[in-house]
Subunit: 272 residues, 2 copies
Amino acid sequence: MDTRFFLGLGLAIVLVFSGAVIYSNFTKLPAASAVPEDRETLYQVSTIDALMQGVFDGILPISELKKHGDFGIGTFDALEGEMIVLDGKVYHAKADGRVYSVMDNATTPLATVTYFTSDFSETTGQPMNFSVFSTEMSAHLPSPNMIYALRMHGTFPHMTVRAIPAQQKPYPTLTDAAKNQSVYSYTNTTGTVVGFYLPVFFKGLNVGGYHLHFLSDDGNTGGHILDLEIPANTTAEYDITPEFEMHLPTSGAFMGVDLSQDLSQELARVES
Amino acid sequence: MDTRFFLGLGLAIVLVFSGAVIYSNFTKLPAASAVPEDRETLYQVSTIDALMQGVFDGILPISELKKHGDFGIGTFDALEGEMIVLDGKVYHAKADGRVYSVMDNATTPLATVTYFTSDFSETTGQPMNFSVFSTEMSAHLPSPNMIYALRMHGTFPHMTVRAIPAQQKPYPTLTDAAKNQSVYSYTNTTGTVVGFYLPVFFKGLNVGGYHLHFLSDDGNTGGHILDLEIPANTTAEYDITPEFEMHLPTSGAFMGVDLSQDLSQELARVES
């Protein structure tokens, strides 16, 4: 009996014992919920594979991005740092380890936002790292084929984040740019994990599985989460997001870049 | 000097000699064109890989689909036949070789629509089949990384279309269902080719490259194009469509189906 058996068994048990609660939340969604459809849309500008290939010029102003959501993650012009959008405010975690506010005329080459409304939640029974969280929480999701926004507040015993410094033209690939990333580790930091779970069939467009950023409550630290320790009794709130909208850049480097390759393995290395 | 060299050379020549004309059309798009943004959206319900795996139950009424476009392709509940949406009317090409009108309460498990407005056109210099058309026209596109709707009217010396009959539960895969497809060939048929070019990075979500359906002018025949002969001096109109919107089913078989596999090679076999 291998790992996949236990995952399958775990999923079956989850569906039998807790599925009803999760699912009742879920199936109510398309009905007369108070949530307008455009709040259930994951909005994305450009594609992850374009970013992988060095398409780093910002093409959408933050003022425009904010019209599509109050919650999300991304990066900024020239691949400078990590974006966290939380409660409608846009934060910029830079490679110096500090977090800055963002002007509306700043631009992004890649970002993913939605309006966050919790549909269901999961609470950890025991402490876990990113890898265990990804496996356990994926098994609890109503379906692996759905988009979820994830918001999780807590005091984390360990939190390791990265931020990539601004790149110079001619732009390198994301893999090469990430070789100069700054990595910061914090202990017992209190803040919010902001991110998404996307189905694996988003390969090429976005990051499959969990992609999480962090912002501390004091607004001083944050970035792209490389690893973390989540204590027991920490609650992750999920927003089921069945609509997906993507804006493809109509000018600039996106038009000419080779997006025909499968970069998923390279992406997995650079994102974790 | 292999084929790729000539393709590259061809592309370079196209960019130098005709690129300006195509591109001027193209770069005007995001500016104050008379086309509202939602007319530049490719709207899709479900994913091609879900259809590949037998998720054939209709989940969106045609009345809803028509709110997202007046032009497009798809299929119907139980994978019955081929959908053509042209000038706001929805047509149903069935396996008996005939085309039927569609009630608003009919449903679709997979469809792709937009509002068609021509941005640029390409005219064939010599007769060509589907394969040559795909290669030559792809090389003329402003970018392979963009979504295009394609509309082409003409009298086609040869036109081969297929339609798959309604499937019974438990549903087979698309590959198995297509083994019972009806294939019809017509000579000198006059009508409209309706379809899309999608970048290869849509793999898993939709059909990469050209995916074309046909409807004859008399409204009697049509289907999914397996092959065709396009005469010289036939003009293909293209609508550049930089926004993509996808609705993921929130209930039914979609939730549980395994969408983690790469089905692109199997898809290529069943779609051509």
